[in-house]
């Protein structure tokens, strides 16, 4: 088996080789390092790598553990002790995490090896990874296009074969949307299913970490490792974690799937609509029943989401004050000047915009009109889902209305970028779980294939159910076996980051 064949394996396949001693953990890491050296210049998925430390861990790896010897890439918003944790922001440029996030501790206990930190939109604010202050990550399927975001580095690495699996975070779609645009599986757990301790907070009532993988089974394996209560996070639910692989392979007879009629909006690319129609027909052929359902407050989800997310972000990002960690402005004339310039120099344009918006909607005189109203609309959106899940086991929809878009297409207009979240924001507000998996391809004018993502949403803590449904779909289709044409792109035009937007 040559290196790129090995690095294209699923986690489950890799584990089988490791357990049969056909390959060592050290060899896996070396092959992965070679693959990264060969393809990373085309993709730019990583912000930092530490193979020296990973190889030290490989010496002690116990391949019989649930993820024994499996290297996992980590979004650079999740603390890995001793590693940089920059959130792709200048304000955390030199910051190193002093401790492991709970989910990193759990990954290590399961035998996994974190080896690198992936690129992202600064502080997870964006849907294209163009808001990274460091560099652009390119979509492995078409280097002139974005990988999605904010977990774009994690998605691109998994698609490109430079990670067997990765962790990302999803506040309003930031795992599911890049998974869709990069052609991989992305899973957002229910709010409270996974600890947030050690994640740099963006919007605390919405943030959840979850896996990006090449197969549904791999997502279940990673979720098994990271889910569960944490005394260090009081929003983490004190609920038993089932084995999420237990129901994989069960058929879909009797399963009821809801197609929300409000999700069939104008503005969905025709190829995306066709792929979802085809997926619905495929589910029927697998024995599931498709039922039209209504989520009447869908059109208010994006507005509610951005009011709430930005309000929480403006409060969370107040901690970046140049006192205890992070960037500090030189020679301030007084304390106020120290704060004002530290933050002006440290934050990029989208983060500044959201701090301004969040501060505004929380400010005296506007709180009721925007923030409080958005919270009430959030209640209505939660009720919509509760009503729908009384009728069906899961909902199906596109993950993104469009496949991967070209660099710069949406970045000049924040509202256009926000509208890309139409199918993912509502589920985040309701705290339910969701998965995106490959369900087709669109073709570009240049003849390239762009992946299309199918989103399945399940009720809170019903992770096992949507994994089972997603797995049945995946195993009876070929989409997940497609690999991006990496290696043919070496002459591609290198996109230049947008300076000030």
């Amino acid at each position: 088996m040559n290196g790129s064949d090995l690095t294209a394996l699923s986690i489950a396949e890799l584990q089988a080789l490791l357990r049969r001693r056909e390959i060592s953990t050290r060899e896996v890491l070396e092959k992965l390092r070679d693959r990264i050296a060969a393809t990373e210049p085309q993709i730019d998925a990583y912000l930092s790598l530490d193979f020296d430390e990973a190889l030290r861990q490989a010496e002690r790896a116990d391949v019989n553990l649930p993820l024994g010897g499996v290297p996992i890439a980590i979004k650079d918003i999740i603390s890995v002790a001793g590693q940089p944790c920059t959130c792709a922001s200048r304000i955390l440029q030199n910051y190193r995490a002093p401790y492991d996030a709970t989910i990193i501790r759990k990954l290590r206990e399961a035998g996994a090896i974190p080896f690198g930190k992936t690129n992202m939109d600064e502080f997870a604010m964006g849907a294209s990874t163009e808001n990274s202050s460091v560099k652009l990550t390119r979509n492995p399927w078409d280097p002139s296009r974005v990988p999605g975001g904010s977990s774009g580095g994690s998605a691109a690495a998994v698609a490109a074969g430079t990670a067997f699996g990765a962790l990302g975070t999803d506040t309003g779609g930031s795992i599911r949307q890049p998974a869709a645009l990069s052609g991989v599986v992305g899973f957002k757990p229910s709010y409270g299913r996974v600890s947030r301790f050690g994640l740099v907070a963006f919007a605390s009532s919405l943030d959840q970490a979850g896996p990006l993988t090449r197969t549904v089974r791999d997502a279940a394996l990673l979720l098994n490792a990271i889910a569960g209560p944490d005394p260090r996070d009081s929003t983490c639910l004190n609920e038993v974690v089932p084995d999420y692989t237990a129901d994989l392979g069960r058929d879909l007879r009797g399963v009821r799937l809801g197609l929300p009629k409000e999700y069939m909006i104008e503005g969905i690319a025709p190829e995306v609509r066709a792929a979802i129609d085809q997926a619905a027909a495929h589910f029927t052929s697998l024995g599931a029943e498709i039922i039209e359902v209504s989520l009447p407050h869908t059109e208010y989800a994006i507005a509610s989401y951005y009011m709430i997310a930005c309000a929480e972000a403006s409060a969370n990002l107040a901690r970046f004050d140049g006192v205890r960690f992070g960037h500090r402005a030189e020679n301030p004339s007084n304390l106020l000047d120290h704060y004002n310039r530290t933050r002006a120099e440290g934050f990029g344009p989208e983060v500044k915009r959201r701090i301004i918006l969040g501060t505004y909607v929380l400010s005296s005189g506007y709180y009721e009109a925007y923030y409080a109203r958005a919270q009430k609309v959030r209640t209505l959106i939660r009720r919509d889902f509760a009503d729908a899940f009384a009728k069906v086991d899961a909902l199906i929809s596109p993950t993104s209305p469009v496949p991967a878009f070209p660099f710069g297409e949406r970045s000049s207009d924040p509202l256009q970028m926000y509208l890309a979240d139409i199918f993912t924001n509502a589920a985040s507000l309701a705290g339910i779980c969701g998965i995106s998996l490959p369900c087709g391809f669109a073709k570009t004018e240049g003849g390239r294939q762009l992946p299309i993502g199918l989103q399945l949403l399940g009720k809170a803590l019903d992770e096992g159910r949507i994994l089972q449904i997603a797995h049945a779909y995946e195993q009876s289709t070929e989409w997940h076996k497609q690999r991006p044409p990496i290696g043919e792109t070496s002459n591609a035009q290198r996109p230049t980051p947008n300076a000030q937007r």
């Binding site: 030199n94 910051y95 190193r96 002093p98 709010y191 409270g192 009532s205 919405l206 009081s234 929003t235 004190n238 407050h297 059109e299 208010y300 507005a303 509610s304 951005y306 403006s314 140049g322 006192v323 205890r324 960690f325 992070g326 960037h327 500090r328 301030p332 007084n334 304390l335 106020l336 704060y339 004002n340 933050r343 002006a344 934050f347 500044k352 915009r353 701090i355 301004i356 918006l357 501060t359 505004y360 400010s363 506007y366 925007y370 109203r373 958005a374 919270q375 009430k376 609309v377 959030r378 209640t379 209505l380 939660r382 207009d413 924040p414 509202l415 309701a430 705290g431 809170a460 937007r501």
Partner: protein, 96 residues
């Protein structure tokens, strides 16, 4: 009154302890004006009888034993400090 007139980016930037350039102020004023214009649709709904949802999953009053546990050492806590001296964070003078 339009949303754009309500939002005074320069004033909000002061509240947020964030210096903006003249160009940023002008750009954000226009961009966020459009976002707030969009957010106006929230006013179409009658929410007078609806409760707030501050969290997706309301859980309250989680208790645990108040027992000492190991935390970061002073050295670890200071490791990322922009400036430090004598085991303390050094900050600009705040009292004249």
């Amino acid at each position: 009154m339009s949303e754009t007139a309500e939002l005074d980016v320069a004033h909000v930037a002061k509240l947020a302890r964030l210096s903006l350039t003249a160009e940023e102020t002008k750009l954000f004023q226009a961009q966020l004006g459009r976002v707030l214009e969009y957010a106006r649709k929230l006013r179409e709904l009658d929410v007078s009888a609806v409760e707030d949802a501050a969290h997706a999953v309301p859980i309250f009053n989680l208790f645990r034993e108040d027992e000492p546990r190991p935390g970061l050492t002073a050295e670890e806590a200071l490791a990322n400090a922009p400036r430090q001296a004598n085991g303390l964070f050094v900050v600009p003078k705040v009292v004249e």
